[in-house]
Amino acid sequence: MSYLPKPKLHHPKLPTNAIGLTRRDYEGAISTLCAGCGHDSISAAIIQACFNLSLPPHRIAKMSGIGCSSKTPTYFLGAAHGFNSVHGRMPSVLTGAYLANRDLIYLGVSGDGDSASIGFGQFAHSIRRGVNMTYIVENNGVYGLTKGQFSATSDLGSVAKKGTVNTDQPIDLAAIAVQLGATFVARSFSGDKEQLVPLIEAALLHEGAAFLDVLSPCVAFNNHAGSTKSYDYVREHNDALNKLDVMLKRDEITVSYAPGEVTEVTQHDGSLLRLRKLHAGHDPTNRASAMHHILERKAAGEIVTGLIYVEPNPSALHEHLGTVPTPLNALGDAVLCPGIEALERINASLR
């Protein structure tokens, strides 16, 4: 929307985080998406979450596929490397990057076309492998860059801007992620920053496959009456499961709740997820009952949001593979090349 370069200067009294950076240090280039696009709110939430967690921006790798959502990594974390790959294939590129260097934080950004249609297979397999990543789908139910075709997350009966009625069943990526073995699954809404920022923080701290389905209205092609992904519709049907507070190891915990009111989950890195319960029947630490609950609420016409499922002690692909703690891209000749004597022994065994 704007081609003006962002001014580099900022107010000297901007608050800084634990590593001395301001929120501005987590920004990227100015967005070229439509004014009011839900994706821009998600970018802002990512910026806020990374700032709150005091993550060094250059230790984050931003991975995406193709589409409006996949363009957004340009608009946050300008000091981080980004990779805008091919349509639907972000998960495999992210998996490869993670194999090469287990020490970086991997943030995958995708859309509903990218993940639920062309890349459905890669979405599924990256999750079932337990890649240590935060996988965000910016879900607007529509193909924006090609001007308004239905996507695979469009609800049955949803009406397109041009009037067509969707007759296909929708894919619920969050439900599928739970089924696939994701160790962190959440759903949120781009219009609810208070809910979204802590969910992103918790996902970034989670040491396993963390999946976030974020409803993100497309103001240009899917924000009209008859759409089930419009601002109005999502606001009306949004039903939060819980309210999440993320407390880092260093934070002092002051507020206390009566038993039964909260679920507390300590993640592997020491962070505490405190969930204030809003649904009596939902247990976010039980995969089967969490699955049951979201299917039940969906049948009742609700869009459940919040932290759906979390495994407090996840394991990730590198542990499954048994790789060395040193990133593979940091290994040198001395440990990679077996040398001439080993080769002579192999030659001898082949005679």
Binding site: H58, H81, S85, V93, G96, A97, A100, G339, A342, L343
Partner: protein, 613 residues
């Protein structure tokens, strides 16, 4: 009846078996036994895309002169498969030998009069000796090996040595196998005229050469080349390459104290994910590769274009098989040259390495990673089923102990601090190769956005024409730089001055060398050039220019190497005469010799002249 063939250390034995019957290990023992006698062999498996019950063949060419190509023709058929009996019997050269299981009588009409029939009641012998059906089947193979050792006058110690080596670690099984061997050997000596006209004699022609398949060799090359990430999807004939990488890594690449792996292997959900992981890992600074075959190359096209355009070092081992489509999945061809060289939409060109045997598969398997890092682009190592899945007798693997990985132009944090500026796609050195940084290197400098969309020299998105053209031209300069650093062609000059030349590559090399000797004996002298890489080194165009006509020998229908020569070197197509073999079997010296001799002699009668318009 013609005279029975008499030959020592120079004949072809073919075993016709049923797959899943355990014959492969007995046939391998035969091959290893001959090698242990110091006599070179070239062996080839001919097998179906099936696990149990269909016909398979194992062909062993015994050749003291050292020709490693397939010869063509069969001097002795070991016919163990009733299903293929008629065609197996028909394939024997006149004067040749048929070895079969004579337990059940066969009608006379199923034999031929012009061959020697050798019946051994294998089933009867093994049924008498063993009661367990599995043992009967497995030991039948060793019994026929014993009978053959007597018929061919093999050194029994060499055979026993091969058995002992095969069962290393399972020594308990050795005596039983020795007993089965003696059973067959004793029966043959007692009941048949041993030896027959085909005999083996100890020689000293193997030297320090090794016997190995190209897939294992290439995988070991990847280990030595420093590959740490392998993402792959099972497909014949490349599967054993990824599996061999895992085998060698487990042996050579684990932390000796903790057992932790200094490698990561992922069996992906498909070829798209395989190459995606390779690209992601390479972008992030790990040496990574995939192994696949033609259908996989088709599926990887989009990512290969991204890797070319975004300049990400990626290594692809393509073990070619007969296409198009599913084609003949267990038969060999060199038919992926074009789909690899120009993989993906838009203007792309890729580096191809063309190894001739497992020794070169090892060398190129390691070199590919240096070249990919140096050139920041995909590099294909083009094996084929013949090299990849057959054991070849070749030079031992060689390695310079002082060699270090060439990681190419990568700036670390200190490099970024020292550099005046950083532009990911800036041609600082004039060779078309820019500098890159790995993610996570520096808190403030060197970050950039990698994309498949067009961008300027500083990696900023643009759809302007001028920066796009600037970038595409730089990619061409980079391709020019590649010409001098990829493996150079190897010339084999004719003994006498030659007007014509021949170009060949890959697994055709062994048959080509043998054909050159035979053609020379016929008075046809040809200078030969073995191409080892694409883009072509300048010597290739010079070679074509120096000859009136150049035969181009390849194993595909459409003369794909010739197409690349015409297209990239602007050679007059009339000068390049295709010699094409593409029925899925490995090319033979006999085929090349006949194809070239026919055209060469025709040219001798009618001097080649351009028609005047």
């Amino acid at each position: 009846m013609p005279q029975p063939i008499v030959a020592t250390n120079d004949f072809v034995v073919k075993f016709a078996n049923v797959n899943g019957s355990g014959s492969a290990s007995a046939n391998g023992l035969f091959a290893k036994s001959v090698l242990r006698m110091g006599v070179p062999i070239a062996s080839r498996n001919i097998f179906p895309s099936n696990i149990q019950g269909l016909p398979t063949w194992f062909e062993v060419r015994i050749c003291e002169a050292g020709h490693m190509g397939r010869r063509g023709g069969v001097d002795m058929m070991v016919a163990m498969n009733p299903q293929t009996w008629d065609r197996d019997v028909a394939e024997i050269e006149p004067g040749g030998y048929l070895f079969y299981d004579s337990t059940r009588p066969m009608p006379r009409s199923r034999f031929r009069d012009d061959i020697t029939i050798i019946g051994v009641p294998l089933t009867e012998i093994t049924n008498a000796a063993y009661s367990d059906p599995r043992q009967r089947q497995l030991f039948k193979n060793i019994v026929y090996l014993g009978a053959l050792s007597a018929l061919l006058d093999m050194d029994v110690e060499a055979v026993k040595g091969a058995i002992a080596a095969q069962f290393k670690g399972k020594e308990k099984l050795i005596p039983a196998n020795f007993a089965a061997l003696e059973m067959g050997r004793g029966w043959a000596k007692e009941n048949l005229a041993c030896p027959i006209g085909l005999t083996l004699k100890r020689a000293d022609a193997v030297g320090d050469r090794i016997f190995v398949d190209g897939n294992q060799a290439a995988a070991l090359g990847a280990v030595y080349g420093g590959a740490t990430v392998c993402a792959w999807y099972p497909i014949t004939p490349s599967t054993s390459l990824a599996e061999a990488f895992e085998k060698y890594c487990n042996r050579l690449r684990k932390d000796p104290e903790t057992g932790a792996k200094r490698f990561a292997i992922v069996q992906a959900e498909d070829e798209l994910a395989s190459i995606g992981m390779v690209v992601g890992a390479a972008w992030n600074g790990a040496r990574s590769f995939t192994a696949t075959s033609g259908p996989g190359i088709s599926l990887m096209q989009e990512f290969l274009g991204l890797a070319y355009f975004a300049e990400i070092p990626s290594v692809v081992f393509d073990v070619q098989r007969a296409g198009p489509s599913t084609g003949m999945p267990t038969r060999t061809q060199q038919s992926d040259l074009l789909s690899a060289a120009y993989a993906s939409h838009g203007d792309t060109k890729h580096i191809l390495l063309l190894p001739e045997d497992p020794a070169e598969c090892f060398a190129f398997g390691a070199d590919a990673f240096d070249l990919a890092d140096r050139l920041q682009t995909p590099v294909f190592v083009m094996l084929d089923l013949d090299i990849g899945m057959n054991d070849w007798l070749c030079e031992p693997f060689a390695w310079d102990p002082n060699r270090k990985m060439d990681r190419g132009k990568v700036l670390d944090a200190a490099g970024l601090d020292a550099a005046a500026s950083f532009g990911r796609y800036l041609d600082v050195d004039g060779d078309g190769i820019p500098y890159r940084t790995w993610p996570g290197t520096h808190p403030e400098k060197g970050a950039f956005f990698t994309r498949g969309t067009s961008r300027d020299r500083y990696a900023r998105y643009t759809e302007e024409g001028a920066p796009y053209v600037d970038n595409m031209q730089r990619l061409l300069r980079k391709f020019d730089t590649a010409k001098s650093i990829v493996p150079h062609p190897v010339a084999i000059p004719a003994k006498e001055k030659a007007r014509d030349g021949v170009i060949f590559f890959g697994s055709s090399s062994a048959a080509m060398r043998e054909a050159l000797v035979a053609l020379e004996a016929q008075g046809i002298h040809l200078d030969a050039l073995r191409i080892r890489a694409f883009p072509f080194h300048q010597d290739v165009a010079a070679f074509v220019a120096a000859h009136e006509r150049v035969f181009v020998v390849e194993q595909n229908r459409d003369a794909q190497l010739r197409t690349l020569l015409v297209n990239e070197e602007e050679i007059d197509p009339a000068k390049l005469i295709p010699v094409l073999h593409y029925d899925g079997t490995p090319i033979t010296a006999r085929f090349i010799q006949a194809a070239i001799a026919e055209r060469a002699s025709a040219a001798n009668i009618l001097p080649f002249r351009k028609a005047t318009p």
